[in-house]
Amino acid sequence: SLYIMSRPEHLAPPEIFYNAEEARKYAGNSRMIKIQTELTERCLELLSLPEDQPSLLLDVGCGSGLSGEVLTEAGHIWLGLDISRDMLEVAKEREVEGDLFLQDMGQGVGFRPGTFDGVISVSALQWLCNADKKCHEPRKRLARFFSTLYGVMAHGAKAVFQFYPENPEQAQMITLHATKAGFTGGIVIDFPNSSKAKKMFLCLFAGVSAKLPEGKTGLGAAPSEGASFIHKARQKNKKAGVKSRDWIVAKKERRRRQKGKEAVRPDTKFTGRKRRDRF
């Protein structure tokens, strides 16, 4: 059914869902190849690596290596992780150039600090939000993944995850854990107004804050909807300080609106002004 097709992660964990048969189907389907290739090309574009510089990249959820082939073609060397042995076997059969590892990203990644110039991931991140085993706690797995990922990236490196969040809460949970791990960045949305073409990319920066790239709209110069969830999450935690000017002005305004409390002093430039420490 359409439901199953659109949400395979509800059907079975990835290592079961992408079994030998499914893995072969996936890698042999020309429509799938086209989609994966285009998504990877967009991920690379968002990574904005220095031009003509062969880089070392990590492909998280590399599957049968469709995304990796785009990286090879662009002149990069890559390491790929995937939790499905069957998918990796197909990648081997297809003789991809990347180095492959059978690994569960929720258990963390282990490389020396500053190993990778960039990280890409195509349609894999949402799998991390499942609890397929009793011991799986998505929050812990996200925290483990992002905190270890941060450590293996070169200073200033970017990670771009194309993903399909189930709902805004899931997207927020993912970005929250990325922020906690030290990343800056946010979500870039391509074609936000098209249910078919809409694509979401979590763009993370390690060690620097850079400007979030704009999403594609297909409407010429129309503004992007690339909202920074991370920015919002940060603001939410930062309440206006008690006794700050904003807090005082807001309180006075509330008092004025109450009956019989009209005698509130007007706001002036002295309202809420910081006084010198005299003692």
């Binding site: 510089q53 062969p54 880089s55 070392l56 002149g75 060397i77 390491l79 939790i83 042995r85 990796l88 076997e89 081997k92 150039e97 180095d99 492959l100 590892f101 059978l102 690994q103 569960d104 258990q107 963390g108 990644v109 282990g110 490389f111 020396r112 500053g114 190993t115 085993k133 011991c135 483990r144 270890t148």
Partner: protein
């Protein structure tokens, strides 16, 4: 698994403080051909632990593949860069085992793919 990856791999076992280098046992090794880029190797040199590479090559019976130390003129030394390229990107460990140096958890390598899955009850 390539020796470039081994050189950068650390143990991802939870709680391990010193997970580098991963102990490597090799049963079967293959060679493949990867397009040479001197620029890539030069870029990787500062990220590599050269003595770890030298030791692994010794262990697998290829001690003369690269010099014991990175030459000072490495970036302009094509012979050296090509040797490093071959050692790092063209030797492929097909069958063997990785072992975390601290927890001693073992990770088998089969068909060239290390199985780095940690059994959850072990975590």
């Amino acid at each position: 698994m390539l020796l470039l990856a081994h050189n950068m791999l650390t143990s991802h076992v939870k709680g391990v403080k010193n997970g580098y280098p991963m102990l490597l046992k090799v049963n079967e090794i293959d060679e493949k051909e990867i397009e040479f880029s001197g620029e890539f190797i030069t870029r990787m040199l500062p990220r590599l632990q050269w003595p770890v590479l030298v030791q692994v090559l010794k262990d697998i019976g290829k001690p003369d593949l690269v010099p014991a130390e990175v030459p000072e003129d490495a970036a302009d030394n094509e012979d050296f860069l090509k040797a490093a390229h071959h050692a790092l990107l063209e030797l492929d460990i097909i069958n063997g085992e990785l072992e975390c140096p601290e927890s001693h958890m073992k990770f088998p390598i089969t068909d060239g793919i290390p199985n780095l899955l940690i059994k959850e009850e072990q975590e």
